[in-house]
Symmetry: C2
Subunit: 254 residues, 2 copies
DNA sequence: TGTATATTTACTGTCGACAAAGAATGTTTT
DNA sequence: AAAACATTCTTTGTCGACAGTAAATATACA
């Protein structure tokens, strides 16, 4: 909703409902980190957030602790906390886990779905189609995440849901990194693959769900890999600019 | 180390090193929750912890936020926080995820292990053998967890490690629940299975690692299931005592 | 001028206190 | 006596302030 990061205070309300402080700071910061409004590697200044949200440092800190548990920020002891950098050397691990979770959650959804859940999944698939038609990349990224998260929820395994949502969120950051170089051909492929996934889940065909989910995961992994390679060629010339590592964004203070 | 829960203060030191407050409270409470020294469903009193650890409420609260992120405590808004109850209805989900993580981490370990990691794993296996010989159930539970966590670490996938450790910890609580009805025949079976797992990892045989890991997981799942069924027959007579649900322990204040 | 040391600065970790929300208790009314 | 209401009490969420730590800056020394 709010576009400001270093801008004017969010919570103009004179008094917030007791207990909403942490939730507000947490959800707002989480959204902004995942949407790259706060770039990876940024220093997080507690006092600035204090002024921005109009609350004390205590709820801000508790929100940061939660974000640290989610892996979205990293806390240096007695030093500032920074937004978790995107580590390209961890990408293979990420792809492996993402693919496995795609498969497992889709399998479970095929096994355990109810009719209501199929309806909810279909609704999100329709939303995704709208985003593709409108070429709204941002909406595509968000709805795609919600689509798969809904499938996972239909699988009804809390442990898989938690890990999968974490992976999907990390994927959101990656996709947004390559926002500009987005290929408008792929979303249509995804649309078809989504359709197959929904069909397999509706038919309660576990093996088929597994296959199409894996194919879909491969597709997405290849897309991101292509982006990374492309980006490396264009921007990340190590010897040309003296950067040691293409891991996190540099600080920008001073 | 410390056996007290409502006992004397832990941190008798006049001044703690700056920054250790949260870590102390977090790790201590986590250990006590996992060892069932603080039973599931217990109310957590912040002020009592304040007195016990000799620190302010702020670090205590931050520790509780972390524990909540780990799923070890549940926070009721504007109400007290309680130690996460053990939900028997979620057991099938737990077993499913646990089995998958056993397989995946062992596979990855077989693929990515170094010689040093094999040595570390073997050392823990030896420790386990000692615990079995001594019939030290508590040590068996702890070392078994460390053994598999070390294997996962050799697999070098952060996402799997995090989820697996969470599952292993939850398993610790379950096993301790049935501490008394422990069957001394099983640990020897586990010992042999561990041996096979280590051999497969050392031989870098991924498929074999997968098979033995799955067999081991099945064994453990069956053990816990047997315990649960047994326990239900003995203790959990719903209509006999008027309890609504066998989920969490009742409060004991007042 | 370059290096080592002292000082300042900025920010974090912690503390004690206050106020709101809910639970427990007491009171009034029918 | 039971129910509705008011009051007290306990506990949480939040606040402002202080002290310690590490970086940044200034100073001394070779």
């Amino acid at each position: 909703m709010s576009d400001n990061f270093f801008g004017e205070p969010d919570a103009a309300g004179p008094k917030r409902k007791r207990g909403l402080g942490v939730v507000t700071a947490y959800s707002t910061l989480k959204r902004e980190i995942l949407e790259l409004k706060i770039p990876p590697g940024s220093l997080i200044d507690e006092v600035k957030l204090t002024e921005r949200f109009g609350m004390s440092r205590t709820p801000i800190r508790e929100a940061l602790v939660k974000l640290a548990s989610d892996g979205l920020v990293v806390t240096l002891p007695n030093r500032s906390t920074v937004v978790a950098p995107i580590d390209f050397f961890e990408l293979p691990q990420f792809f492996d886990a993402l693919t496995l979770m795609y498969r497992v959650t889709t399998r479970l959804a095929a096994a355990n779905r109810t009719d209501e859940e199929i309806a909810a999944i279909r609704a999100l698939q329709a939303e995704y189609a709208v985003a593709v038609a409108a070429k709204d990349v941002s909406a595509m990224i968000e709805v795609n995440r919600d689509f798969h998260a809904e499938i996972a929820r239909a699988g009804k395994n809390r442990y898989y849901c938690d890990l999968f949502e974490r992976l999907l969120d990390e994927g959101r950051r990656l996709l947004r990194l390559y926002y500009s170089s987005f290929n408008y051909e792929l979303p249509r492929i995804y649309l078809d693959e989504h359709e197959e996934i929904v069909a397999a889940i509706e038919a309660q065909d576990v093996d088929r769900a597994d296959r199409v989910a894996e194919a879909h995961a491969d597709q997405i992994v290849r897309q991101i890999q292509a982006y990374v390679v492309t980006d490396r060629r264009i921007n990340t010339g190590l010897p040309l600019r003296g950067n040691a590592r293409p891991s996190g964004a540099a600080s920008k203070e001073r």
